[in-house]
Symmetry: C2
Subunit: 599 residues, 2 copies
Amino acid sequence: MSADIKKRISKLRTFMKEKGMDAYVIPSADNHQSEYVGEFFKARAYITGFTGSAGTAVITKDEVGLWTDGRYFLQAEHQLEGSGAKLFKMGNQGVPTVLEYIEAAMPSNGKLGFDGRLMAMQEGEDFVSQLSPKNVAIEYAYDLVDMVWDGRPKLANEPVFLLEEVHSGESRSSKLRRVRDVMKDEGANYHIITTLDDIAWLLNIRGNDVKYSPLVLCYAVVTMEKVELFIEESKLDIRIKEALAKDGVVLRHYNDIYEFVKGFKAEDVVLIDPARINYAMYKNIPAQTQKIETDNPTILFKAVKNPVELANIEKAHIKDGVAITKFMYWLKTNVANTTITEISASDKLEEFRKQQEGYLWQSFAPISAFKEHAAMMHYSATPETDVELAQGHLLLMDTGGNYFEGTTDITRTFALGEVSSELKKHFTAVARGMMNLARARFLYGCKGYNLDILAREPMWSLDMDYKCGTGHGVGYLLNIHEGPSGFRWYIVPSKHETNTLEEGMVITDEPGIYIDGSHGIRIENELIVRKGVENESGQFMHFDAVTYAPIDLDAIATEDLNRDEKLYLNSYHKLVYEKLEGFLTFEERAWLKSYTREV
Amino acid sequence: MSADIKKRISKLRTFMKEKGMDAYVIPSADNHQSEYVGEFFKARAYITGFTGSAGTAVITKDEVGLWTDGRYFLQAEHQLEGSGAKLFKMGNQGVPTVLEYIEAAMPSNGKLGFDGRLMAMQEGEDFVSQLSPKNVAIEYAYDLVDMVWDGRPKLANEPVFLLEEVHSGESRSSKLRRVRDVMKDEGANYHIITTLDDIAWLLNIRGNDVKYSPLVLCYAVVTMEKVELFIEESKLDIRIKEALAKDGVVLRHYNDIYEFVKGFKAEDVVLIDPARINYAMYKNIPAQTQKIETDNPTILFKAVKNPVELANIEKAHIKDGVAITKFMYWLKTNVANTTITEISASDKLEEFRKQQEGYLWQSFAPISAFKEHAAMMHYSATPETDVELAQGHLLLMDTGGNYFEGTTDITRTFALGEVSSELKKHFTAVARGMMNLARARFLYGCKGYNLDILAREPMWSLDMDYKCGTGHGVGYLLNIHEGPSGFRWYIVPSKHETNTLEEGMVITDEPGIYIDGSHGIRIENELIVRKGVENESGQFMHFDAVTYAPIDLDAIATEDLNRDEKLYLNSYHKLVYEKLEGFLTFEERAWLKSYTREV
């Protein structure tokens, strides 16, 4: 492999030389600021051999650098071995950032290259301002990797399907009206949308162009009369074309948007989201065109689920809960006498999900992690790492499904046989954190950072922390991670998760404990934000749990629960039983009765 | 009274006319951005008759407007009656802000006047930018109220005293070194400090120029070699002058600073705090002098109490707890058979404080509020409102003392006789909130807005809220409200209370319930921020309560406490008993034993 990598880099350098570039940057992105990208876009992996989901490669005349974060240090070290590439461990002391490195490495009057479609607008601007003292030119119009990449996968071109109003709860024309109202308020006659989930939501279309995420590769430009949709036409059948045309959607070639935006006039006003547009698109807008920079209006619109969506989400979660419960029953009754591995367990769970009506596919790469594997937050079992389950330990399963009725995300940690009192103590702390956030009551106006401590306190009281947020928004048959609200105590501006918690948002609640080399525990429910009483104090808010599956009582240390926590656990389990009992066999139902008993 | 007011305004208008001013603004401030101001500075009260602590008057040729907030609507309506002044209820819908009002009222090419020393820098700048389209001139060099005010109180001129190192824990020279280190880092050769508590802290001086606050009216300009101290020299005795001179402090007249700063040169670099400098001072700095705008370095330095201060604070709180406990014993044993009023109760408490060694005076206007009076958060009993205490109700007392060992702030709510189950339920919710914040464990980096919900949750769970922050920093023999950290779930930028919670900060924890016309409950302990374990998760932090006084068990509904809350209450009460028993009579001690019993 490393010989291949060296060849690729050497070829890339000949093209760099041809274009007069002193350095070339390859990020992990696609053209749409997506969190997960299709195979076509895995350019950084192709060039460096490092396949992790996050990382940036910088190729200079005599060095190859790869930047990645703590999740991937081990994997990157392993995958870069022998390639000659140098690993830069982001966040470690003394390690320069990509920007700092390039600033030092670039010669005066040099030229930096990157594919401007893969670079966020702000990142590109940061390069420009940081390198201007050295008078460095930026060339963003070439995808050099494409010139090197033999057998590059094609751009995903999966068929589009319509999300009917019975599932979306709002017509395309109504959504367009709301977006246009914002444009009017802002005085804009154009609105460019490049984020795939925003377009899918707005046009009530779905697809399968990114693994797990039901998205459609396209760009949209909304005007007062039309929607210019830049998409490969072959993805659309005649019925869909007609439906779109009825709402003023005009089709254009996927890549033509970069020329299209060059045609904006001086009197045009274009609304763009600076956090959600790529550098090439941004630079192609004529300088004299007025830009209004604000969040895409669709961000908040799609995060606040409408009553039809919420009713559907409830249905999706009942199906999901049935699958999880059937799986849990199967696991508990078979683990002692059957060979089960991490992968076969998650395959079994997938079987149960597939039995559910309206199920499409998994909403993300399933995590099935036994014992110490579960301490790795993003562990994904491969045939090489797969292990057989055994009694006396914990199995963590973080999985989810895409249904026409919505996207689910659930984590349950299961005790296999009798587990130690330390494991029970940790499991109970995690369960307490999950429940204490779920039962919060709060005033309208709260953000996730106000509430996060409710989930985290049981772990903090043990002098432990989990190194991630407590929860994220979930899309409706869209992205598994969706802004603009979430739970995290510290503010990470790039995460866009500090919006006020609005009625109808759906957010996960998933605290955990991760002990390196020993075990990992996470329990995750999704919560719907609800309005409560409004009185002279203001508008009160609370959550309804919409995930229905038992929290494994075999791992609960009852004596660690206080009264309020016991009350919540019992009422939650009662709800789980009521929601699921009708969909289970006699045996499963009897089993569930016992696993949702009062403590 | 209203005839007097009319005369004053008419006189003011003749001076406005003389200066060509179309409007004149009178805020509630002093020259130092102080929260409480001396009598000399109560210009707005003199001109309008409204004596509340917050409000702004605007006098135009034909209107007098007074802006104040919800706390003061009733009082302002009453006090403005017959004066012809118009009350603007800040925050109410449709009510213009001062800025909006002036913008509408000013003629083009008109002139707006105010005393620039009373206006925060940013406020002044806001006037300038808002009024520039109308080409309005700003005249900030005249104190017109002074020309009108017969018998104006003199500027406070109380003697200064030194805070010895045994109390301050750090020498003047060491503090100056730390400030100068920041100046060096910032490249500044001048640093102007106008906030009285910052100067008092830096120079280890105290005084009595503002009622309750042990502050000294002065300004300081720090250079690398000297401190130019602008102060009335008669305030300083020879010993203090010598001590100051030894550390390079040079004395100048109080008002001369405004000329002094005009003398800065083009090559000078002056460090100022834009939130803590007045408009006149700011404008007097030559335009070509470079200004570095950042928080006064003293803000964070003085908020983080050193070990000597912390040990002293502990002593001050034991004294304060002794006084409160003696008072509580007296109250409980006498209320049934003695006439006690709100005022006589707070006088009695003051007697007990005066018995403590090192006690100086009250740290703020005491709140002694019976029954429905306690629902008014800022109630202050006057002979007109004073009522006799009676059995079956609650008495709220929020008081504090200035000691050489520090400043205290404590609230206890006392049950007089047997109180209703509703009162007990509310009292217990407040106690739970106070305790749940006090027993928090959290990672270093948390701000007050991360933790506030711990205190507020029991009230929010009852669909109730208290309309204020949960707690504020407390100075060391300084201001009772001290930044830059506090507890409040929503961010109010002007409050400067969102700093990370640092080891050694002292912050109050005072949730409450306020039911209009019925009752008010607040329980307040001060908390010291402490470091806990440091491990791979980071630096853990927690609080130590430093307020020692019983939480009235007569008002606790034990059944509302969960296990963790009971454990905390019992251990807190054990601590209270241990700290105080040595300073009590036999009777008091026996009584305290019972009032700190386990529940």
